[in-house]
Protein backbone atom coordinates (compact mmCIF):
# COMPACT_ATOMS: atom_id res chain seq x y z
CA UNK A 1 0.00 0.00 0.00
CA UNK A 2 2.84 2.33 0.92
CA UNK A 3 4.48 1.51 -2.38
CA UNK A 4 1.28 2.31 -4.20
CA UNK A 5 1.00 5.68 -2.44
CA UNK A 6 4.61 6.43 -3.30
CA UNK A 7 4.00 5.46 -6.91
CA UNK A 8 0.90 7.67 -7.05
CA UNK A 9 2.86 10.56 -5.57
CA UNK A 10 5.63 10.06 -8.12
CA UNK A 11 3.10 9.98 -10.96
CA UNK A 12 1.36 13.09 -9.61
CA UNK A 13 4.67 14.92 -9.25
CA UNK A 14 5.70 13.87 -12.75
CA UNK A 15 2.36 15.16 -14.01
CA UNK A 16 2.88 18.47 -12.23
CA UNK A 17 6.38 18.85 -13.64
CA UNK A 18 5.04 18.07 -17.08
CA UNK A 19 2.24 20.61 -16.68
CA UNK A 20 4.79 23.27 -15.81
CA UNK A 21 6.65 22.85 -19.07
CA UNK A 22 4.10 25.02 -20.88
CA UNK A 23 1.80 24.69 -23.84
CA UNK A 24 1.69 21.90 -26.36
CA UNK A 25 0.27 22.21 -29.86
CA UNK A 26 -3.52 22.11 -29.59
CA UNK A 27 -3.64 23.77 -26.15
CA UNK A 28 -5.69 26.87 -25.42
CA UNK A 29 -3.40 29.84 -24.84
CA UNK A 30 -4.14 32.58 -22.36
CA UNK A 31 -3.96 36.24 -23.31
CA UNK A 32 -1.46 38.62 -21.73
CA UNK A 33 -1.16 42.31 -21.12
CA UNK A 34 2.39 43.57 -21.53
CA UNK A 35 4.03 46.92 -22.09
CA UNK A 36 5.12 47.74 -25.62
CA UNK A 37 8.19 49.84 -26.48
CA UNK A 38 5.78 52.75 -27.20
CA UNK A 39 4.62 52.64 -23.58
CA UNK A 40 1.15 51.23 -24.36
CA UNK A 41 -0.13 47.96 -22.98
CA UNK A 42 -0.78 45.25 -25.60
CA UNK A 43 -2.99 42.14 -25.50
CA UNK A 44 -4.13 39.73 -28.18
CA UNK A 45 -7.66 41.00 -27.42
CA UNK A 46 -6.62 44.37 -28.89
CA UNK A 47 -6.74 42.77 -32.36
CA UNK A 48 -10.39 41.82 -32.94
CA UNK A 49 -9.82 41.41 -36.69
CA UNK A 50 -6.74 39.15 -36.42
CA UNK A 51 -7.17 35.50 -37.34
CA UNK A 52 -4.23 34.62 -35.17
CA UNK A 53 -0.77 35.68 -34.07
CA UNK A 54 2.87 34.88 -34.62
CA UNK A 55 4.13 35.20 -31.02
CA UNK A 56 7.91 35.29 -30.86
CA UNK A 57 9.87 35.24 -27.61
CA UNK A 58 13.01 37.09 -28.59
CA UNK A 59 15.41 39.66 -27.16
CA UNK A 60 18.17 42.16 -27.88
CA UNK A 61 21.35 40.43 -26.79
CA UNK A 62 21.07 36.93 -28.24
CA UNK A 63 22.98 36.38 -31.51
CA UNK A 64 20.28 33.96 -32.69
CA UNK A 65 17.62 36.62 -32.10
CA UNK A 66 19.73 39.20 -33.92
CA UNK A 67 20.23 36.82 -36.82
CA UNK A 68 16.45 36.52 -37.16
CA UNK A 69 15.44 40.19 -36.71
CA UNK A 70 15.12 40.91 -40.43
CA UNK A 71 13.22 37.68 -40.97
CA UNK A 72 10.81 38.57 -38.14
CA UNK A 73 10.13 41.95 -39.76
CA UNK A 74 9.55 40.15 -43.06
CA UNK A 75 7.11 37.72 -41.43
CA UNK A 76 5.14 40.66 -40.04
CA UNK A 77 5.14 42.41 -43.43
CA UNK A 78 3.92 39.26 -45.14
CA UNK A 79 1.31 38.08 -42.68
CA UNK A 80 -0.08 41.14 -40.87
CA UNK A 81 -2.28 41.95 -43.87
CA UNK A 82 -3.36 38.31 -44.02
CA UNK A 83 -4.57 38.38 -40.41
CA UNK A 84 -1.53 36.97 -38.59
CA UNK A 85 0.55 39.82 -37.15
CA UNK A 86 3.80 39.30 -35.27
CA UNK A 87 3.93 40.08 -31.54
CA UNK A 88 7.44 39.92 -30.10
CA UNK A 89 8.01 39.42 -26.36
CA UNK A 90 11.30 39.87 -24.53
CA UNK A 91 11.26 37.33 -21.66
CA UNK A 92 14.65 38.12 -20.11
CA UNK A 93 15.37 39.65 -16.73
CA UNK A 94 17.40 42.84 -17.30
CA UNK A 95 18.99 42.40 -13.86
CA UNK A 96 20.76 39.37 -15.33
CA UNK A 97 21.00 40.57 -18.94
CA UNK A 98 21.22 44.41 -18.93
CA UNK A 99 21.20 44.52 -22.75
CA UNK A 100 17.58 43.34 -22.59
CA UNK A 101 16.25 46.19 -20.47
CA UNK A 102 13.09 48.05 -21.49
CA UNK A 103 15.17 51.11 -22.42
CA UNK A 104 17.47 49.00 -24.61
CA UNK A 105 14.42 47.35 -26.21
CA UNK A 106 13.14 50.79 -27.24
CA UNK A 107 16.50 51.63 -28.81
CA UNK A 108 16.71 48.33 -30.69
CA UNK A 109 13.12 48.54 -31.95
CA UNK A 110 13.80 52.01 -33.33
CA UNK A 111 17.17 51.06 -34.87
CA UNK A 112 15.70 48.07 -36.68
CA UNK A 113 12.38 49.74 -37.48
CA UNK A 114 10.27 47.00 -35.91
CA UNK A 115 6.83 47.00 -37.56
CA UNK A 116 5.31 44.96 -34.71
CA UNK A 117 4.87 45.35 -30.94
CA UNK A 118 7.97 44.46 -28.94
CA UNK A 119 6.68 43.71 -25.45
CA UNK A 120 8.50 43.38 -22.16
CA UNK A 121 7.59 40.37 -20.00
CA UNK A 122 8.05 42.40 -16.84
CA UNK A 123 8.41 40.04 -13.88
CA UNK A 124 8.74 37.06 -16.27
CA UNK A 125 5.13 35.94 -15.86
CA UNK A 126 4.18 35.10 -19.45
CA UNK A 127 7.05 33.02 -20.86
CA UNK A 128 6.73 30.19 -18.27
CA UNK A 129 3.00 29.89 -19.02
CA UNK A 130 3.77 29.40 -22.70
CA UNK A 131 6.79 27.22 -21.97
CA UNK A 132 9.26 29.28 -23.94
CA UNK A 133 12.78 28.11 -23.14
CA UNK A 134 15.00 29.98 -25.56
CA UNK A 135 15.18 32.99 -27.84
CA UNK A 136 13.92 33.11 -30.50
CA UNK A 137 11.04 30.72 -29.74
CA UNK A 138 7.87 30.94 -31.84
CA UNK A 139 4.29 30.11 -30.82
CA UNK A 140 1.68 30.45 -33.57
CA UNK A 141 -1.75 31.12 -32.12
CA UNK A 142 -4.88 30.55 -34.19
CA UNK A 143 -8.23 32.07 -33.22
CA UNK A 144 -10.80 29.29 -33.27
CA UNK A 145 -14.37 29.83 -31.99
CA UNK A 146 -13.23 32.76 -29.91
CA UNK A 147 -10.32 30.88 -28.32
CA UNK A 148 -6.60 31.16 -28.82
CA UNK A 149 -5.30 27.75 -29.91
CA UNK A 150 -1.58 26.98 -30.23
CA UNK A 151 -0.98 25.53 -33.70
CA UNK A 152 2.80 25.60 -34.01
CA UNK A 153 5.75 25.76 -31.60
CA UNK A 154 9.36 26.05 -32.61
CA UNK A 155 11.89 27.57 -34.97
CA UNK A 156 11.44 30.18 -37.69
CA UNK A 157 13.34 28.17 -40.31
CA UNK A 158 16.17 25.66 -40.56
CA UNK A 159 19.15 27.94 -41.18
CA UNK A 160 19.91 30.67 -38.65
CA UNK A 161 23.03 31.85 -40.45
CA UNK A 162 21.57 32.37 -43.91
CA UNK A 163 17.90 33.10 -44.62
CA UNK A 164 18.33 32.40 -48.33
CA UNK A 165 19.85 28.99 -47.65
CA UNK A 166 16.99 27.87 -45.40
CA UNK A 167 15.06 25.21 -47.27
CA UNK A 168 12.44 24.70 -44.55
CA UNK A 169 10.57 27.88 -43.59
CA UNK A 170 8.55 26.48 -40.73
CA UNK A 171 6.69 29.61 -39.59
CA UNK A 172 5.87 30.83 -43.09
CA UNK A 173 4.61 27.38 -44.09
CA UNK A 174 2.65 26.99 -40.85
CA UNK A 175 0.81 30.30 -41.23
CA UNK A 176 0.10 29.60 -44.90
CA UNK A 177 -1.36 26.23 -43.88
CA UNK A 178 -3.64 27.96 -41.34
CA UNK A 179 -4.72 30.57 -43.90
CA UNK A 180 -5.68 27.74 -46.24
CA UNK A 181 -7.70 26.12 -43.46
CA UNK A 182 -5.25 23.30 -42.85
CA UNK A 183 -2.90 22.43 -40.00
CA UNK A 184 0.85 23.09 -39.91
CA UNK A 185 3.17 20.22 -40.74
CA UNK A 186 5.50 20.09 -38.89
CA UNK A 187 3.65 21.55 -35.92
CA UNK A 188 6.70 21.36 -33.62
CA UNK A 189 10.39 21.97 -34.28
CA UNK A 190 13.50 22.65 -32.23
CA UNK A 191 16.38 25.07 -32.66
CA UNK A 192 19.47 26.13 -30.80
CA UNK A 193 18.90 29.39 -28.97
CA UNK A 194 19.89 31.45 -25.97
CA UNK A 195 18.44 30.21 -22.72
CA UNK A 196 15.91 32.62 -21.20
CA UNK A 197 17.61 34.44 -18.35
Amino acid sequence: MKKLTLLTTVILLAGLTFAQTGYKVGDKASDFELKNVDGKMVSMADYPDAKGFILIFTCNHCPYSKAYEDRIIELDNTFKSKGYPVIAINPNDPAIQPEDSFEEMKIRAKEKGFTFPYLFDDGQKVFPVYGASRTPHVFIVNKEHGEYIIRYIGAIDNNHTDAEAADKRYVQDAVNALIEGGVPNPEFTKAIGCSIK
Binding site: C62, P63, S133, G154, N158, K190, A191, I192, S195, I196
Partner: protein
Protein backbone atom coordinates in the same frame (compact mmCIF):
# COMPACT_ATOMS: atom_id res chain seq x y z
CA UNK B 1 52.33 23.53 -74.55
CA UNK B 2 53.13 20.31 -72.71
CA UNK B 3 55.39 22.21 -70.32
CA UNK B 4 52.79 24.85 -69.72
CA UNK B 5 50.13 22.36 -68.69
CA UNK B 6 52.67 20.55 -66.53
CA UNK B 7 53.47 23.76 -64.72
CA UNK B 8 49.77 24.50 -64.34
CA UNK B 9 49.13 21.06 -62.80
CA UNK B 10 52.09 21.55 -60.52
CA UNK B 11 50.75 24.91 -59.36
CA UNK B 12 47.29 23.43 -58.75
CA UNK B 13 48.79 20.53 -56.79
CA UNK B 14 51.02 22.82 -54.78
CA UNK B 15 48.19 25.17 -53.84
CA UNK B 16 45.99 22.20 -52.94
CA UNK B 17 48.77 20.98 -50.63
CA UNK B 18 49.06 24.39 -49.07
CA UNK B 19 45.31 24.65 -48.50
CA UNK B 20 45.15 21.20 -46.93
CA UNK B 21 48.19 21.97 -44.77
CA UNK B 22 46.49 25.14 -43.69
CA UNK B 23 43.19 23.46 -42.82
CA UNK B 24 45.19 20.66 -41.19
CA UNK B 25 46.67 23.27 -38.93
CA UNK B 26 43.18 24.54 -38.09
CA UNK B 27 41.72 21.11 -37.48
CA UNK B 28 44.48 20.36 -34.96
CA UNK B 29 43.29 23.32 -32.98
CA UNK B 30 39.52 22.95 -33.20
CA UNK B 31 37.93 20.51 -35.63
CA UNK B 32 34.80 21.72 -37.38
CA UNK B 33 32.16 19.03 -37.82
CA UNK B 34 28.69 18.51 -39.16
CA UNK B 35 26.34 16.45 -37.00
CA UNK B 36 27.00 13.19 -38.83
CA UNK B 37 30.72 13.48 -38.09
CA UNK B 38 30.07 14.49 -34.50
CA UNK B 39 27.42 11.87 -33.72
CA UNK B 40 29.84 9.00 -33.10
CA UNK B 41 31.05 10.86 -30.01
CA UNK B 42 27.55 10.53 -28.53
CA UNK B 43 27.57 6.74 -28.73
CA UNK B 44 30.96 5.48 -27.57
CA UNK B 45 30.53 2.03 -26.08
CA UNK B 46 33.44 1.81 -23.65
CA UNK B 47 34.12 2.43 -19.96
CA UNK B 48 34.88 6.15 -20.30
CA UNK B 49 32.51 8.77 -18.92
CA UNK B 50 31.89 11.35 -21.65
CA UNK B 51 31.03 14.86 -20.48
CA UNK B 52 29.80 16.76 -23.53
CA UNK B 53 29.00 20.41 -22.98
CA UNK B 54 27.23 22.58 -25.57
CA UNK B 55 28.30 26.21 -25.39
CA UNK B 56 29.16 29.31 -27.40
CA UNK B 57 31.44 32.29 -26.88
CA UNK B 58 28.44 34.67 -26.80
CA UNK B 59 26.52 32.64 -24.20
CA UNK B 60 27.09 34.25 -20.81
CA UNK B 61 25.98 31.36 -18.56
CA UNK B 62 28.05 29.01 -20.75
CA UNK B 63 31.19 31.09 -20.24
CA UNK B 64 30.52 31.19 -16.50
CA UNK B 65 30.43 27.40 -16.26
CA UNK B 66 33.45 26.69 -18.51
CA UNK B 67 35.95 26.75 -15.61
CA UNK B 68 34.01 23.90 -13.95
CA UNK B 69 34.48 21.74 -17.05
CA UNK B 70 38.14 22.71 -17.26
CA UNK B 71 38.59 21.77 -13.60
CA UNK B 72 36.90 18.43 -14.22
CA UNK B 73 39.17 17.84 -17.19
CA UNK B 74 42.25 18.53 -15.07
CA UNK B 75 41.24 16.73 -11.88
CA UNK B 76 40.11 13.60 -13.71
CA UNK B 77 43.00 13.54 -16.13
CA UNK B 78 44.16 10.14 -14.88
CA UNK B 79 40.70 8.61 -14.89
CA UNK B 80 38.39 7.49 -17.62
CA UNK B 81 36.66 10.83 -18.07
CA UNK B 82 36.58 12.67 -21.36
CA UNK B 83 35.46 16.31 -21.39
CA UNK B 84 34.38 17.63 -24.79
CA UNK B 85 33.34 21.26 -25.24
CA UNK B 86 31.10 21.56 -28.27
CA UNK B 87 30.97 25.13 -29.54
CA UNK B 88 27.79 26.21 -31.29
CA UNK B 89 29.26 29.50 -32.41
CA UNK B 90 28.03 30.50 -35.85
CA UNK B 91 30.08 28.78 -38.57
CA UNK B 92 31.42 32.12 -39.85
CA UNK B 93 32.67 33.15 -36.38
CA UNK B 94 35.37 30.49 -36.18
CA UNK B 95 38.31 32.83 -36.86
CA UNK B 96 36.78 35.97 -35.41
CA UNK B 97 35.41 34.67 -32.08
CA UNK B 98 36.07 31.02 -31.34
CA UNK B 99 39.82 30.73 -31.97
CA UNK B 100 40.76 33.95 -30.13
CA UNK B 101 38.50 33.00 -27.20
CA UNK B 102 40.00 29.53 -26.80
CA UNK B 103 43.49 31.02 -26.98
CA UNK B 104 42.73 33.80 -24.51
CA UNK B 105 41.13 31.46 -21.95
CA UNK B 106 43.78 28.84 -22.65
CA UNK B 107 41.16 26.08 -22.69
CA UNK B 108 42.67 22.65 -22.27
CA UNK B 109 39.67 20.36 -22.80
CA UNK B 110 38.93 18.87 -26.19
CA UNK B 111 36.95 21.35 -28.29
CA UNK B 112 34.77 20.75 -31.33
CA UNK B 113 33.05 23.37 -33.46
CA UNK B 114 29.68 21.92 -34.49
CA UNK B 115 28.72 23.85 -37.60
CA UNK B 116 25.56 21.98 -38.62
CA UNK B 117 22.88 24.71 -38.86
CA UNK B 118 19.85 22.44 -39.34
CA UNK B 119 19.46 21.98 -35.58
CA UNK B 120 15.91 20.63 -35.72
CA UNK B 121 17.36 17.61 -37.53
CA UNK B 122 19.81 16.75 -34.74
CA UNK B 123 18.76 18.20 -31.34
CA UNK B 124 16.63 15.14 -30.52
CA UNK B 125 19.55 12.87 -31.45
CA UNK B 126 21.61 14.48 -28.69
CA UNK B 127 18.68 14.11 -26.29
CA UNK B 128 14.90 14.25 -26.74
CA UNK B 129 14.87 16.21 -23.45
CA UNK B 130 16.79 19.10 -25.01
CA UNK B 131 14.73 22.14 -26.03
CA UNK B 132 17.72 23.64 -27.84
CA UNK B 133 18.68 26.26 -25.26
CA UNK B 134 22.30 26.45 -24.14
CA UNK B 135 24.11 25.80 -21.88
CA UNK B 136 23.32 22.10 -22.03
CA UNK B 137 25.37 19.06 -21.05
CA UNK B 138 25.21 15.36 -21.87
CA UNK B 139 27.01 13.01 -19.50
CA UNK B 140 27.12 9.34 -20.42
CA UNK B 141 28.93 6.07 -20.08
CA UNK B 142 27.74 3.39 -22.47
CA UNK B 143 23.96 3.39 -22.22
CA UNK B 144 23.84 5.22 -18.89
CA UNK B 145 22.92 8.72 -20.05
CA UNK B 146 21.99 11.96 -18.34
CA UNK B 147 21.04 15.25 -19.96
CA UNK B 148 21.09 18.62 -18.20
CA UNK B 149 19.67 21.76 -19.78
CA UNK B 150 20.96 24.02 -17.06
CA UNK B 151 24.06 25.74 -15.83
CA UNK B 152 26.59 23.44 -14.15
CA UNK B 153 29.08 23.93 -11.37
CA UNK B 154 32.04 21.78 -10.44
CA UNK B 155 30.39 20.06 -7.46
CA UNK B 156 27.38 19.07 -9.52
CA UNK B 157 29.53 17.80 -12.37
CA UNK B 158 31.72 15.83 -9.98
CA UNK B 159 28.76 14.19 -8.27
CA UNK B 160 27.23 13.11 -11.60
CA UNK B 161 30.55 11.83 -12.96
CA UNK B 162 31.25 9.88 -9.72
CA UNK B 163 28.00 7.91 -10.08
CA UNK B 164 29.07 6.77 -13.53
CA UNK B 165 32.77 5.99 -12.93
Amino acid sequence: MFHKSCILILIVLLSACMISACSGEKSRQIPQMNFQEFETLLHQQNDTVYVINFWATWCKPCIEELPAFEQLNTEYEDQKVSVILVSLDFPNKYEQLLLPFVKEKNLQSQIIHLTDVDANAWIDKVSPEWSGAIPATLIYKGNDRGFYESQMNFEKLKSIVKTKL
